[in-house]
Structure formats: structure tokens, C-alpha cells
Amino acid sequence: MPLSLLLSLSMALLVVGLHAISAARRTGRSQQTYGISLVICVILLGMALVHLLSAAAPATLILPLGLPWLGAHFRLDALSAFFLMVVNLGGAVASLFALGYGQHEPAPGRVLPFYPAFLAGMNLVLLADDAFTFLFAWEFMSLSSWALVMAHHRESANTRAGYLYLVMACFGTLALLLAFGLLAGPQGGYDFATIRTAEMTPGLAALALILVLMGTGSKAGLVPLHVWLPLAHPAAPSHVSALMSGVMTKVAVYGFIRIVFDLLGEPVAWWWGGLVLGLGGITAVLGVLYALMQHDLKRLLAYHTVENIGIIFIGLGLALAFQGNQMYASAALALTAALFHVLNHSLFKSLLFLGTGAVLAATGERDMERLGGLIHPMPWTALAFLIGAAAISALPPLNGFASEWLTFQAILLTPELPQWLLKFLAPAVGALLALSAALAAACFVKAFGITFLGRPRSPAAAQACETDRYSLTALFTLATLCLLAGILPGLVVDGLSPAVSLLNGGARLPVQQSQPWLTLVPVVDVKSTYNGLLVLLFMALSGILAAVLIHRFASHGVRRSPAWDCGFPDVNPAAQYTAGSFAQPIRRVFGSVVFQAREQVTMPPPGDGRAARFEVKMRDPVWDYGYAPITAAVIAISNRFNHLQYLTIRRYLSLVFGALVLLLLGMALWR
């Protein structure tokens, strides 16, 4: 029985966490915790893969836990198997990385007990089959990751990040709680099987959709609910950041898919798709624009998670729009694109966060303005990071391109939709998607170029050395998977098809394995195809051919000399382009509108010895216009009620009396 084994393994992770409380006291025991987590994750990964690829029937299990009249329901189907694969792949690689990286941890006691618990929480969310178990596991995942965010709580920025995360997590769970309340209906049928069959009025279903969007969107980082994410993800230790950004956001996406596509079910109103599509497009572009303005490498990556969540939600929104019009073949393409991007993002985002962890361990810096030239002391880390950067920038033949290509192909099918709003929205979102892909490339030229290329900007960067073998193995595992998923996208699409047909009334993409050369063929009658394998082959052949011919027949000599730089070489590495100056043109073009970025140069008059100053002022539109008024209102209201704390006992008694009278009056009128 694979489901009970999956559950016991998740429980085993909890036990590992409990054991780590005692183990953490002794030095050198972190490897034990991470080692066992690695083994368990690999087994879970293997089982999830077997279930997904064998297209096995869903398995269910009811345990006498939780609410006495409900019990704890668990279920393993193709969708949860796919997300189990994503979660445990990320978990396994992060654990492998932590075997080496965990030894740099200054306070292992604050990380080790929560790490396996966090993994267990994510696994349980995916297996839950009733609302109570789902929310319990969801909260467990949130709180254990909160504890990991607070691992380095002595830094004041981390405390603020932890607080904000807690508030947003509570908000998200509240929204989900209300959504499940609506779904369960007045009878209170909280297990998913009952919810699936229940009929809902269109108004209630729409309300539930909006609540689910708020609940899962706040965890996934959908704009405008993303504000906690770029603060909290970087605060945790790097392997945990990789899990939070690469994997936990995917659990939130799973929640959205499970509730909206599976539980709410048919009929889908067409405007749901439009709403999700628009939110996805805005999230994608804003996320990457925020990322471009960052100098902190981990925060830049966290903002990129926001962008990629936007791309995933574009795919999901398209799928909803197609399903609302009974176009299941097109919906299958959009869903496949979204799920493929889920897998891809978990691969390259984990890779990039782990690479940043290696940089952090080697230099102690994550501010790009103090890094540079790391490709010389850390060539292997640099190569792995480069592959991740190219993959996230959607460059062929890597995997990011394959899933974005599928998303574009799905957008190209939207003229068939009958609704005018969607007809106008879809090309606009297509433009936003193209814009975000191009900006992502700019952002990762900056991230890789400033961090790894050029000359070192600080002594710490100059004295760095290559990271350990565990970390390198983890990095190259992910880099290889990025390449494989990019050149063999057809196999991934076939692997995804059980999950897609489960959500899509049985419709799926054509079988890809039988295509010549494993070409990706999204729709049978549209002749747009893409073959990553051939593109890689052509590129490798022509590049190698050129190199061999030139070295054989033309020249192969190399002479080292100082840089030319038009005859004015800068001796000082500070004169290089920095992250801020690299982003300056884009800041002027986009930032002056979106962030109201203003540059101010204070130049002392000639003869004055003071230093010139250059300042950039930027405003965060979401915070300033969305959250700041809300916080101000909350503080103003609580100030108003503050004097309630200082009343005499007489006053309190009369307040109680007044409240009682009001309640009774209300009851009487209600009847």
C-alpha cells in the first residue's frame, strides 16, 4: 500500500525533527539529520514517480485522527503524485546541499528540528483529502517555515520579515478557512469527496474562488499579496530559502489547482480565467521589475519567484478560460504549460538559491555590490549558476524556454474564445509575458555578471574558494535536470499527462514519445513544433566545428595582457559597472513610471572638497498605496480604543451591561 508507506515516511521526517532537538546540542550531528532527510526524500520521490508514470488508480486512506466525526482522509492521485515529486526532488537536493552547507550554520539548534518538520508538512498538504487535515498540514508547513525564517532572529530585518510572514500566513489561512466553509456548505461535508459532488450556486462558487485566490495567492506570492515573500525567503538559511522559494510556493499552487480545478469543478464561469490571467500577467511583470532593482542576491531571486508564479498563473488562467468555454484540448495545453513551469521553476530556483548559498558560505556576502570575479575561485559553482540563470531567462535549449514556449502556444489559441474581454486580455498578457521574459534575461545578466564576472569588489570576494563536494553534487544534479527537461520536453509532457487529464475531464496533449526526434507537438492540427534536442545538437555541432577548424587551420595562440579598455584601464575595481549602474537604463525606462524612481545628484561646486552624492529614491507602489493605508488605519483605530485599557471597574461593568443589552436587543429583533 503505497499511500500508508508515504504517510509513515512523512511521519518519520517528523521523528527526525524531534530527534534533531537532542542531536543539535552535539556538534557535527547536522549531517545525520540532513542525511536521513535526504534518504527519506529520495524514497518519497521514487514512489511518487512510480505512481505518476504507472498511471495507477488513486489510493485513499482514512485514519481515526483529527476531528472525531470526520477522521483524517488521505488520498494519492496523479496531481498529488506530481507535486510530491516536485517537493521531494527539491527536498532531496536541498538536503544533499545542506550536508556540506549545514556545517556553516552558526545556530544549528534553530534549524535542524524544523527542517524535517517543514518537509513533512509540505508532504502532508499534498496527501490531505479533507479540509481539516489540509488546513492543519498547511498551518504546520507555515509555522515550521516561519521558525526557519526566524533562525537568525538577532538581525532586526529578519524579525520584521518573520512578523510580516506570520501576519500574511494567518491572513491566507483565514481566507482558506472561509473558502472551505463555503465549499462544505451548511451540512459541513468537509471531506473532499463530498465537496466534489456538492452543487454550488454560481455566486457562492465565485466567492470561494476569490477566497482561494487570496489564501493560496498569499502563500505563492501573487501580487499584491507578495510583500512578505522577498523579505522572508532570503532571511532563512540558503537551503531553506531554496525550499521555500522553489517548493513551498508550488504547494500553494497545488492548493489552488486542487480546490479550483478539482473541488469546485464544473461549471467554470469564463471570467474566472480572465481574473486569474490578468493577475498572473501583472504579477509576472511587476515581479521581474522589482527583482531588477535589487542588489541583494537572495532578495533578487525571491522577487523572481513572484515573476515565475505569475507565469504559472497565466497558464492556469488560460486553462480556466478554455474550460469555461468547453475547449478541453486547448485547456490541456495551458494546464500542461503551467505544470511544466511548476517543475521547471522548482528546478532552477532551487539551483540558483543553492548557488547563492555556496557564494554566501565562501564570502559571507550576498550584496552584489561587494562581490565580483567569483568565476575564478569558484568555476564549478559559476557554471552551475550560469546554467540556472540561462534556464530561468527562458533561453533555448534549457527547460525554462520549453514551458514558456508552451504558454505562448496556449495564448495563440485564445482567438477561438468567444468572449471579447478575453480576446483583448490574452494578447495583452502575451505582451506582458514576453516583456517579463526579456526583463528576466536582463536581470540574470546582472545577477550572474556582477556576482561572478569582472574583478572582485571586496577582499572577501577576492579570497573566496570553491565550495564543498556535497554542495557541488547538489548543484550539478539540478543543472543536469534543467538541461534534460529542456532537451527532452516531450517526455516531461507525457509524464504530466495523467495529472492534466485528471483535471481536464480526460483531455490531454497528444502523446509525445512517438514523435520523430522527440519533437514537442502541442496541438495535433497546428503545425508549430519545437525540438530542444536538435537545437542543442545543431548548436553544439556548429560551435565545435568552428572551434576545431579555427584552431586547426587559423590560429590558436593566446597572449595575456592588461585589459585594453580604450587605453584607460581602471586600476580600481570600484570603477567597474555595479549592480545599480547596470540596472540604471532599465530603471529610467520602467522604474520612473512604476516605482517613481528619482535620481538626485548633489555635486559640490568646484573648489569644495566634499564628496559628490548620488541618490536614487524609489517607492514601492503596492506597499505605499495598498498596505500603508491599511496599517495606518489599524494603528489609528487601536489608538482610539487604547483608553479602554485604563477605565475604572465601574465603567467596565457598565460596558459589559451595555453589550449584554445590545446583544439581547439584537436577538429580539432578529427573531
Binding site: G454, K527, V535, S542, I544, S555, W564
Partner: protein, 318 residues
């Protein structure tokens, strides 16, 4: 036999492009010189430059890494493959199915990504300035290009270039507003992507507004030769793209005999000659714009592309 024929044709196209690319660059240079009443270099000068550069040793900056040495081959390979997938003299390319127009745009993106990284590698301020501006330009040019892909795909029902070219040869294309907008957008993108006036000046080395030349400033010898050849190939690619989409006449369709191929090649050469002439005329009659006007130029291209696509979303007959 058919397979042999396919491979021969694909190989022939790749070789033809490689041989033609420097000639096109020389052609534009000569025309520009004559328009300025200068005699100008010979048409074959780019070949001589390339051969000379190839034979010279590479002078590598002390701070250059392995990426700096690998990048020229990667850039060259990506652009060559992209160019090989654009139909030139024949409308059906055997390997056209392996990458559609979106993939060709993305392949050019790969080349640009590595060129910008190479610009940052040595750690000089010139390289940085070029890389950062190139990425700014690309962040607007690439979406504009993809909007053009949308327009074409809505008309032809596919993003595969061979099929698009075959569709454009049929009679039911007609005159369309959306295609006119797309043509304008593609020309603007092509000017920006090839670092031509008014966006960038291919002839200068020491001007603060330069983009492409600043990035490749540290390159020398065979590396520089590859990058120059890649830049010529890119110009050729964009002219071929314009030709195969908007002036498809004279292209050989599948199943015709050998003389038809010769005719196709002649038509292709004529299109290139005309394209080069128009480019030279345009470049000599306009001044270079400030670098922070470029974003307005390219936003206009993006909006034109979006408008073209939107028109088709509204009605297939526009």
C-alpha cells in the same frame, strides 16, 4: 534519396549564409561610403578583415575568465543556427520544424545573453555600459518581435517559418492593416537589434552612446572574427526574415527542379541587394538618437506590434 536531398539543402543554406554574410556587410558599407561621396573600401574588405583576424593570436585581458573565451563560439553557433532556420531561397526548409519563430527569437536571445556576459567579464566600465544598454534595448525589442510572431501566427495558423512563408505566397493574404503594422514593427526591431543608426552606430568605437561595439571592445583575433561574423549573420538573418515574410515572391517551393532553385537564389540575392540599399539610404539620411530616446522608439515598435495582433484578435480579415 529524399533524406539526402534534405540534408544537402539544409547544409547548402548554412554554407550560403556563411559566405554571403560578410558580402552583405561590405555591400552596405560600400553603398554608405558612396552616398557620402567617398570611394569606400572594396566589397570584399570584410572577408579580408575576417581572414586577417582569424590568423592573429588572441590578446586576452588578465581578468578574463573561461566564459570570455567560450562566449564567441556560443554566440556564433546560436546565431548561425537561428539564421539557418529562416527560409531564404526555398520556402520549405527540411529542418524548419525543429524550431519555430519563437525559438529563433529566443536563440538570438541566447546569443545576446552571452555577449552581454562577455562584456561584463573583463571588469571594465566600457563593457558594462554596453552590456547594460544592450539588455535595456532587448527588453523592449524582444517583446515587440514576439508580438509580430503573434500576428503572423494568427494569420498563418502556425509559428513555423516555412509554413508562414508558404502561406504568404498564397493569394488569400491580400493587403492587411495588421501586416503593415507588423512590417513597421519588424523594421524598427531589426534596426535596434543590429545596432544600426539611429539606435547605435556600427562605425564608431569611441562614443559614449555606443552599445554593441562597447561590449566587444576587449575581443581580439579569432574571437573578434567570430563575433564580427555573427553580427553580419544577424543582419543577414533579419533581412532574410523580412524577405521571407513580406516579400516572399521568387522563393522555390518544394518539388521543383534544379533551375527553379537557381532562380530562387537569384531572387534572394536581389532581395538582399535591395534591402542593403534601403538600409544604407536610411542610415545616411537620419541622425543617431540619444540613448534614452531609444526606449520611446522601441516602445512605439512594441505598441505597433501589439496593435497589429489585437486587430487580428478582433477580426481575422484586418
Amino acid at each position: 534519396m529524399a533524406l539526402m536531398h534534405d540534408h544537402l539543402m539544409q547544409g547548402g543554406q548554412m554554407l550560403l549564409l556563411l559566405l554571403l554574410a560578410p558580402l552583405l556587410t561590405g555591400w552596405v558599407r560600400t553603398l554608405k561610403a558612396q552616398l557620402l561621396r567617398r570611394r569606400g573600401p572594396s566589397l570584399l574588405q570584410p572577408y579580408r578583415d575576417l581572414l586577417k583576424l582569424l590568423r592573429k593570436e588572441v590578446v586576452l585581458a588578465d581578468s578574463a575568465s573561461w566564459l570570455f573565451r567560450v562566449a564567441p563560439y556560443l554566440i556564433f553557433a546560436a546565431i548561425w543556427v537561428a539564421a539557418a532556420l529562416v527560409p531564404t531561397f526555398a520556402s520549405s526548409l527540411p529542418f524548419s520544424w525543429s524550431a519555430d519563430l519563437i525559438a529563433i527569437v529566443a536563440l538570438l536571445g541566447t546569443a545576446r545573453f552571452f555577449l552581454a556576459l562577455a562584456g561584463l567579464d573583463v571588469g571594465t566600465s566600457f563593457g558594462g555600459i554596453g552590456a547594460s544598454r544592450e539588455m535595456m534595448i532587448a527588453s523592449l525589442a524582444e517583446p515587440a518581435m514576439l508580438m509580430l510572431v503573434f500576428t503572423l501566427s494568427l494569420l498563418a495558423g502556425t509559428t513555423e517559418l516555412s509554413a508562414v512563408a508558404r502561406f504568404m505566397l498564397t493569394a488569400d493574404v491580400g493587403l492587411r492593416v495588421s501586416l503593415a503594422l507588423a512590417l513597421l514593427a519588424l523594421i524598427m526591431v531589426a534596426i535596434a537589434e543590429n545596432a544600426r543608426i539611429p539606435v547605435d552606430n556600427p562605425a564608431t568605437h569611441l562614443e559614449l552612446t555606443m552599445v554593441h561595439e562597447a561590449m566587444v571592445l576587449e575581443y581580439s583575433g579569432r574571437h573578434l572574427a567570430l563575433i564580427e561574423l555573427a553580427a553580419s549573420l544577424k543582419l543577414l538573418l533579419y533581412l532574410s526574415l523580412l524577405g521571407c515574410i513580406f516579400v516572399p515572391w521568387g522563393m522555390t517551393t518544394a518539388g521543383e527542379e534544379a533551375t527553379a532553385y537557381l532562380l530562387g537564389v537569384a531572387a534572394y540575392l536581389a532581395k538582399l541587394g535591395l534591402g542593403g540599399l534601403l538600409l544604407a539610404l536610411f542610415e545616411t539620411s537620419i541622425a543617431k538618437m540619444r540613448v534614452f530616446r531609444v526606449d520611446q522608439f522601441l516602445s512605439a515598435a512594441l505598441m505597433l506590434g501589439l496593435l497589429g495582433a489585437l486587430l487580428l484578435f478582433v477580426s481575422r480579415s484586418l
